[in-house]
């Protein structure tokens, strides 16, 4: 029914507080997640600057921080990882883009439960406050690595951060609750509130991906929430769930954690792939190659992701026979993922590719994620993991997956949807400078770390001078090179921030609804869309990627255009 949102609402003029601080509109809530996520990302990046400076120049004062003690080093790396996954990648990829795009792209006026949507952000915001509080308490923030293995994480006598450990864990649990609530909104909205005529195969890939990610999150988070309750009790009231002296088992935590932890990487990977699909189809003017294959490989990856978790535990003391099973499943999961990537690359064939900044970042995602994916094979092969486990090789591998996912694909999305979100254009020249600086800088950080890891650099070490085989100048030079590139990469982000915030207020005005000549429904709302999104609710007549259809004058065919 193509009635308008306005007919369903008795709108009074909303105050600033109602509009921006306690919003019900999915777009504003999406922006709250976006800006909170960006701020937390800056904090996480600052931590990485500090600890990499310590590694390059051990024992010297780090500008804008001071001397780094070994305890502070551990807290910095722990919270860098925790922040980047839970307070940067997930809020932006799932909550911000999900909230902003899903109702628009399915032709709805909002999410199905706006008040629960608002509540989920509020819980998320509280989780941010709790995490930051954990840095400020006596003895500082938790430093037991983002994986928080007990007994270290369970007993203050071992971790020496009695309050930091508890607050860290409470913050993570609150974040989980926020995302469980948010996920229910996304899933229900996509299932039930699509525009008339939008069949399953007409749903844009980014919507599928964000909803499938929410389902993966819900299915995998449960056991870890149970585990977190157990760890919290061990920390606070002295139970012994993970204490061997009391009959408990530290390895139980690892299983609960990684049963979640592995699907979690796909929770962030899928939305990134979704964004890339939208961008590469629009800027190559090509239909997505084999849409159904993209869906099937996504389902396959999602299901298989529940059967690979113990590849994080090959060396942990699990039954060695179990390792053989997990190495098989882990190496096999590379197949649907490789297929998805090949299908994306095939989409470029026969295209008319325009290298806008958004497209550059989307293509950059493909080029760098390939490296990340391939280096995972070394770790999934149990025999090789004996050597690589807990070295910088692991770290370089997961940054070659996480940075493309959480940074490069996010930039592709921001540059692409900026005109829709703010009604103005970002500056393309600055965008290209930002792109090249980020890509070169990023590779400069992590490529050397594959080599230091393969040479024996183990993880979470604040100073390699203690280890004769590692304290050699060739390795220290590589570490310093990585640190210099961290600084360079961070500096180039200032170009982005200037461009982003300046353009929001003073950028060239975007008067049209569809500046990129794309097909999906968000491009038929105003730029930016009003509350309620569409004055007349759209109806859908075809799939989302009908570019360059033969026999048509225009090389695009919007979903809501009558035949």
């Amino acid at each position: 029914m193509a009635t308008s949102h306005a007919e369903h609402h008795d709108h009074h003029e909303m105050s600033f507080w109602e509009k921006y601080i306690f919003p019900l509109d999915h777009k504003v809530i999406g922006m709250q997640y976006l800006f909170t996520g960006i701020l937390m990302g800056v904090l996480g990046a600052y931590f990485s600057y500090v600890f990499r400076m310590q590694l390059a120049f051990p024992g010297t004062e780090v500008p804008l921080f001071g001397l780094v003690t070994s305890a502070q080093y551990n807290s910095l790396i722990t919270n860098h990882g925790t922040i980047m996954i839970f307070w940067f990648a997930m809020p932006i990829l799932v909550a911000a883009f999900g909230n902003y795009l899903i109702p628009l792209m399915i032709g709805a006026d909002d999410m199905v439960f706006p008040r629960i949507n608002r509540l989920s952000y509020q819980i998320f915001f509280i989780s941010v406050l709790v995490l930051i509080a954990s840095f400020l308490v006596h003895n500082g923030g938790f430093g037991g690595a983002w994986t928080a293995y007990p007994p270290l994480s369970a007993k203050a006598e071992y971790n020496l951060t009695p309050w930091g450990s508890i607050l860290w864990l409470v913050a993570v649990v609150l974040e989980f609750v926020a995302f469980l609530l948010g996920g229910i909104n996304f899933i229900t909205t996509l299932m039930n509130s699509r525009a008339r005529g939008m069949k399953m195969n007409d749903i844009p890939i980014v919507c599928w991906m964000i909803v499938l990610a929410s389902i993966l999150f819900m299915a995998s988070a449960g056991p870890l929430i149970a585990g977190a309750a157990m760890l919290l009790f061990d920390q606070t009231i002295g139970t012994g769930f993970f204490d061997p002296a009391r009959g408990g088992d530290p390895i139980l935590w690892q299983h609960l954690f990684w049963f979640f932890g592995h699907p979690e990487v796909y929770v962030v990977f899928l939305p990134a792939m979704g964004i890339v699909a939208e961008v590469i189809t629009t800027f190559s003017r090509k239909k997505l190659f084999a849409y159904k294959v993209v869906l099937f490989t996504t389902f396959a990856t999602g299901i298989l992701s529940f059967f690979v978790w113990a590849h994080h535990q090959f060396i942990a003391g699990i039954d060695p026979r179990l390792a053989n099973i997990f190495t098989v499943t882990t190496l096999l999961i590379s197949i649907p993922i490789a297929e998805m990537l090949f299908v994306y690359i095939a989409t470029l064939y026969g295209g008319a590719i325009e290298l806008t900044t958004a497209m550059l970042f989307a293509l950059g995602f493909l080029a760098t994620f390939l490296i990340g994916g391939v280096t995972g094979v070394f770790l999934g092969a149990s025999g090789a993991d004996i050597y690589f486990h807990d070295t910088y090789f692991v770290l370089a591998h997961f940054h070659y997956t996480f940075v493309p996912i959480a940074v490069i694909a996010v930039f592709a999305g921001l540059y692409y949807w900026f005109p829709k979100m703010f009604g103005r254009f970002m500056n393309e020249t600055l965008g290209k400078i930002h792109f090249w600086g980020t890509m070169i800088g990023f590779n400069g950080i992590f490529m050397p770390l594959f080599f230091t890891g393969a040479a024996g650099d183990h993880r979470r070490i604040f100073d390699y001078s203690n280890f004769p085989e590692l304290a050699v100048s060739s390795l220290q030079n590589l570490r310093t090179l990585a640190t210099i590139c961290v600084v360079i990469t961070i500096l180039f982000q200032f170009v982005f921030f200037w461009n982003f915030f300046y353009s929001m207020f003073k950028g060239k005005v975007c008067t049209e609804k569809n500046p990129w000549k794309a097909n999906t429904l968000e491009w038929f709302a105003a730029s930016p869309p009003p509350h309620g999104n569409f004055p007349v609710m759209p109806e859908v007549y075809r799939g989302p990627y009908e570019f360059s259809t033969p026999g048509r004058e225009l090389d695009y065919w919007p979903q809501n255009e009558k035949a």
Partner: protein, 192 residues
């Protein structure tokens, strides 16, 4: 604040009303939480046969009475839904409060149980069995309390003949809480 429901909430491409669809997804995520906890308990229980000694000190009679109480309260919420469908708001509210009363009985019996056990030295830190016992039953009890609060809030609307569909939704949630108990009871009380 005068916010009424978006069009999105009223659509139903799947045929199932949005509220009900959402509640099933909530149940799904709760199943994984309780499932995770109970799987851990089961695996450890199989590893430690001596836990049977500990579980012999649980009060099977009280557990049995509580099972009966919860099952009855599931019946009363079904009746509440039945009358809500028929728009007989007084009877619906009556049965909602009967269900809340059932929850209260459950909690009181549990309270007496736990007090006795704690006084006899079986606390959450006594042994790993008791840690699981209190954690699992405690998490369940929190869900009972949450259900009772939600039911009270829904009954206010129902009294004014508003949002009657929510009786069914809280009913689905309450049945889930009941079913979790059906699993907990044999695992914690009967397996001796």
């Amino acid at each position: 604040m005068g916010h009424s429901t978006p069009i999105a909430t009223t659509r139903s491409v799947t045929g199932m009303p949005t509220g009900r669809l959402a509640v099933w997804w909530v149940i799904g995520s709760e199943i994984v939480i309780f499932g995770g906890l109970l799987m851990c308990y089961l695996m450890l229980r199989l590893k430690y046969p001596h836990w049977a000694l500990n579980s012999s000190h649980t009060n099977t009679f009280a557990g049995g009475v509580n099972t009966f109480v919860l099952l009855s309260s599931s019946l009363s919420i079904v009746l509440a839904h039945h009358y809500a469908e028929k728009k007989e708001e007084l009877k619906a509210v009556g049965f909602i409060w009967a269900t809340i009363f059932g929850g209260l009985c459950f909690l009181v019996i549990k309270g007496i149980e736990w007090t006795t056990e704690i006084q006899n030295g079986y606390t959450i830190t006594s042994s790993l069995f008791w840690s699981f016992y209190y954690t699992a039953a405690g998490l369940h009890a929190l869900h009972v309390i949450a259900g009772m609060i939600l039911m009270g809030w829904i009954s206010i609307d129902v009294m004014q003949k508003k949002n009657m569909h929510r009786v069914e939704l809280i009913g689905i949630y309450w049945h889930f809480v009941d079913i979790v108990w059906i699993f907990l009871f044999p695992l914690l009380y009967i397996a001796k």
